[in-house]
Symmetry: C2
Subunit: 698 residues, 2 copies
């Protein structure tokens, strides 16, 4: 697959399956193209002479210099058409035809064949099972939807064709314009990553929007979106968030999406603004398209109504934003300019009898305050205020100061002319002040994403060969569930473990204990026994002289408890001071789309009962690990709450990074749990390990 | 204050301060009344002969049979007018005039005087500082706002006049009608409780809406709203939720609201649906006004578009609702009626080429399923579907089955005629499916509120006299901060405490220990020492023979640590088995509006770090206490998570109820912390106590 710029700016488009029979897809696409396309539309249909005034060709191969072929022929012959197009040198094909993987049965093998042809000829294929594509830059509506997009700078991809139709119908009434639109269909060849990359490098796309039910390759998506969001914001709905939604999505597109935690983490790492509703999707798109990014997160609210001002302030309190703290000089100026009954403190209340002039003076004074990064202009209808006049002033001041503004005009249709003026200038305006604040919040969030430093996961100097040896030898012995006997794997990756070893005789136990200073911990090691403490399989604080006896006792108890259990031996381990340490858990699962997903949380109750966890897709970079600490509510316990000594966070960060490197290096590790990793004031210790291997991937 | 029905249905209304000078409040109100009021408008103004064609009277006392006086004269003479009105036998007065408590200074004393007059004459006074009142039942717009309400069944009170103006302007475009509206102003006399009661008993009010920045008396509010919500839903915004918002509210109306936890708890106990945004306020009002309540919480989604169906399903997943599980017969019928490519499982996808007939057949089959309590009809624009036809069918089916329906017509202005038909029938319709689901969720929540059994707080047989003695004797000794030395207070209220006593000599310590079986716990008792363990002020597991020595040691350590500390003695207490028990905290603070606010959470980290707490306003009834357990995330630990023995929840419930009774009986207890209350498998034990007294209230 190459560059997609021709796909969205072709000079000649062929509709293969063009028809003049009303109600057919071939008719709809051909007439949509004919109505506005700047380039040439070519009709292909061996059964017709002419379609909608166009001479009809028997094959797409009969027409020279076709840039894009739109395939609407029935599924059984679509592949043949695809091959003909490819042979004729066409690089971009949109397969509208349904009856591929979404239909199951034959459809799936048909889709595999489609993919094979695309690979053979290096074709860009949209679909199959797509509504089509649009590009307002060349007036192209190559969809069978009833409506064309208005021009604009938002590019939009959707895994639902109906959603595109709905959005276009609605957007026309809401002054929302688009640049390129693609209905992704089954994403057999081109997927979200390709369009993210295409639009990321398109100077005329200001915002990328997505409706996604899954992503094909999470790692690729993160990489592509991470780069693109440094310049262009991406806002996306990932539907099927909830259990019910995920199963509905599976029956809709056949998308078996991985865990929502993986999407949540992956989108965050990619810098994608994830939204949950259609309203937010377009609220965010509009503000990102229309307003500059804020310099800081201080919001000034200027209103002529106290009550709505309070509601707006609550919305600020709910967001990442803060009410700007005005400088003395700002307060003085407001005090000089406003009547005595006004409130000069933020939220500024210019009160009910304010004119446009007074309102605008207050807005300008607020804009001039260096602590004000954003402004909400909030007006209720009064006898003295002209909404249109206020809109004009707001537009002027926004342009003059270059500070983002969102407006709330709390009224009905009388506010429309004013709202139109604001929207034309890219200033979002709503009845509900919470939406205005939420939109500014999105701007601030994107500003933060854009400011991110380039981050790369650290690659530590580890003994990968030794790790492979350990894993391979386990597999050789028929083991795919490993436990503490494989702690050396952690050693190989520089993850601190207490001194100790798994032994299989009382003598060895004594020898190993002898190498350790002080008392030791002894634990039964058996893949078949999970609740070791409950069966007396663990002894803590065993003195050197008791090690031999303890060995025997532990093994006997295990044998009594479960005679058929395979017993690997007994682990003899250095004591770790659990009193000064905090137990944490580092876990990894493997997501079908995103790959290794690292989980962090505090031990036991916090993860299991309180669900106080944070996830990131591996490989994770240092700042991402630190964000994980910020996301768990129990983090103060690591930082020294309640008189505890703070844990060695640097060591913990490094441990999580090393785990991330381990699971990235070995895709064969499908699950891993280090529980606990004890975080002490001076270092950490990984105490216990459970790990599942997929030997096919080793 | 009496019945308010005359206030909202007067026959003769006098405007005191009527004026024909354009731009004045007196002019605006008089002309608003003249334009539509079914009754008679009377102008009062000693400085005019005639106002807007009305003969002007010198005093309200000159006119017989005035039902309501609207006072717009300047503040300095408003009280005189109020008295004249009262003397003339007028019972209902609306004081528009500002310059009372909201203005500070003289205003506050003026407001006290107003209150005194109202009490003297038993007057119903709205305001002062009010926009006025409206009642569409008699065409009365007695406000100075620019717009009258359309008739309807929603009654609306607002602590912001501007918000009323804004809402009316907006509502006119959204087919939302009102019955009564009141701008509460400063709430000197009539407040939210009076209007809740009035509208609760008004058969023509279907929904009560409120914009509140505080409530005057939380306990009264809960009581009144609790009764009313058994018949009439109340939906309210309580603004000033956040810290920033609360301080903005304080500067707006002077409302120093108590903690948001108290409002959250109080509204919940009252059965008030609390919303956070203007959008939700009216979404909920519309659906509650227009749709019946659901029989169950199963939702069927019927759509012609898969993707939006998934989004809708996600919204269901986010709500209290569930996707309905269709019966076999329903699936069979759907399968018989729909094309093969359809999805007969919920969300039902009638697919893109559906006609109104197919859509409506599917809706009807879903409605007939007994597991379907609500339906979302979700349509995207297609060539085959008539939105208006679908609206007609939806209206017909909703009426036939009596099941609540919400619609999502995903399109632009082309959907308007259909949306109008739906709205006219009371079926809410939105572009964003999440709003439709959220509205149904509100219906289900209200259905649950309406179903509640009548609950009363249990009154236990306690020794109130003994408790009073303990508190009084503490106050007599100059103590307002009490600790473990007052554990007997808990005994008096039947709250289990470990056996033991506070003693002030080694001999007494030995004697008390002798009465206790087994080892004891000994703790220093001093109001000046809070971290007792840290200074060696606590000894656990003291054997009988060591009690005397331990007494001396503990006291010496305390003296060394803090020579000026007042030492009450040493507590000698029975050991409580902390290993099988779970430490919980029961705390009480006193909220300025709601009074005693009971907090419950698990000990230490869970409350302090995880903020895992639940609040209720006392007195709390048993089911409310059980709800508190449901609200904390750590509750599984009480219920026996991770192999623990379950705690004695009944004993814990009773303890919290008894604490509630104690703080209700003694308003002098301004703060109380029982930390920990150890919840054991067989009973609970209150181990430690801190309590603050306000001696004025004893």
């Amino acid at each position: 697959m190459g560059d997609l710029s021709t796909l969205f700016a072709p000079q000649r488009v062929a509709v293969v399956g063009a028809s003049d029979e009303d109600g057919t897809v071939g008719h709809a696409i051909t007439s949509n193209l004919l109505s506005e396309f700047d380039g040439e539309t070519v009709a292909v249909n061996p059964n017709r002479e002419e379609v909608l005034g166009l001479r009809c060709h028997d094959s797409v191969a009969d027409v020279p210099d076709v840039d894009v072929a739109i395939v609407v022929v029935p599924a059984p012959i679509a592949l043949q058409v695809l091959r003909e197009a490819a042979e004729a040198g066409i690089e971009d094909v949109v397969v509208i035809t349904a009856g591929f993987s979404e239909a199951g049965g034959d459809g799936s093998s048909r889709e595999s064949e489609l993919l094979a042809i695309a690979e053979e000829y290096d074709l860009n294929v949209v679909g199959p099972n797509s509504l089509g594509i649009m590009s307002t830059s060349v007036g192209m509506n190559a969809t069978f939807g009833p409506r064309s997009a208005d021009p604009g700078n938002i590019s939009f991809m959707s895994q639902s064709g109906a959603f595109i139709t709905a959005v276009l119908d609605w957007a026309a009434d809401h002054d929302i314009g688009f640049r390129d639109i693609v209905s992704l269909g089954n994403k057999a060849v081109l997927d979200e990553v390709d369009f993210v990359e295409q639009w990321g490098s398109d100077p005329d796309t200001d915002v990328i929007l997505g409706y996604l039910e899954d992503v094909n390759d999470g790692q690729e998506f993160i990489e592509a979106a991470y780069e693109v969001t440094r310049e262009t914001p991406i806002v996306a709905v990932k539907s099927g968030r909830t259990e019910a939604g995920a199963s509905a999505a599976a029956s809709h597109t056949g998308a078996i999406a991985g865990s929502d935690q993986a999407y949540e983490a992956g989108f965050k790492q990619a810098g994608v603004l994830r939204v949950e509703s259609v309203q937010e999707l377009f609220d965010f798109a509009s503000v990102l398209d229309g307003q500059p990014l804020p310099d800081n997160e201080g919001v000034a609210i200027v209103t002529n109504a106290g009550g709505p001002g309070v509601m707006t302030t609550d919305a600020v309190g709910d967001s990442r934003l803060q009410l700007a703290d005005f400088e003395e000089s700002t307060l003085d100026e407001l005090s000089d300019s406003l009547p005595e009954e006004s409130n000069i403190f933020n939220p500024v209340d210019v009160i009910g009898d304010a004119t446009v002039e007074r309102f605008s003076t207050a807005i300008e004074i607020a804009l001039a305050d260096p602590g004000v990064g954003m402004v909400v202009v909030l007006a209720c209808p009064t006898a003295t205020l002209s909404f249109e006049g206020l809109a004009d002033e707001t537009v002027r001041l926004q342009a003059e100061y270059g500070t983002p503004i969102a407006a709330t005009l709390m009224g009905g249709s009388a506010t429309e002319p004013a709202a139109d003026k604001l929207r034309e200038a890219g200033i979002p305006t709503y009845f509900d002040p919470a939406r205005a604040v939420n939109s500014l919040d999105a701007l601030a969030e994107y500003a933060e994403i854009k400011r991110r430093d380039r981050i790369e996961a650290t690659t530590f100097d580890v003994d990968q060969a030794r790790a492979r040896e350990i894993l391979e030898s386990a597999v050789d012995r028929g083991r795919t569930q490993l436990g503490v006997e494989s702690m050396e794997l952690l050693d190989a990756y520089g993850i601190p473990t207490p001194q100790g070893e798994v032994v299989d005789s009382p003598g060895d136990a004594e020898r190993i204990a002898g190498e350790i200073e002080g008392d030791v911990v002894m634990k039964i090691v058996s893949p078949d026994i999970s609740h070791k403490s409950d069966i007396g399989g663990v002894e803590v604080g065993v003195a050197q002289e008791d090690v031999r006896d303890s060995y025997e006792d532990i093994v006997v108890r295990a044998r009594n408890y479960q005679p058929d259990a395979s017993i690997v031996g007994v682990q003899v381990q250095e004591m770790v001071d659990l009193d000064t340490g905090t137990e944490t858990i580092v876990g990894v699962s493997r997501d079908p789309q995103f790959g290794p997903l690292v989980m962090f949380g505090l031990g036991g109750i916090f993860v299991e009962v309180m669900e106080d966890t944070s996830f990131r897709v591996a490989p994770v970079a240092e700042p991402e690990v630190r964000e994980m600490f910020d996301e768990i509510k129990s983090a103060p316990l690591l930082r020294g709450a309640r008189g505890r000594e703070p844990a060695d966070l640097d060591a913990l960060v490094e441990t999580i990074q090393r785990v991330s490197q381990l699971v990235t290096d070995f895709p064969a590790i499908t699950e891993l749990d280090i529980n606990p990793v004890v975080a002490m004031p001076d270092g950490v210790a990984a105490i216990d390990l459970r790990l599942t291997l997929d030997q096919e991937k080793l």
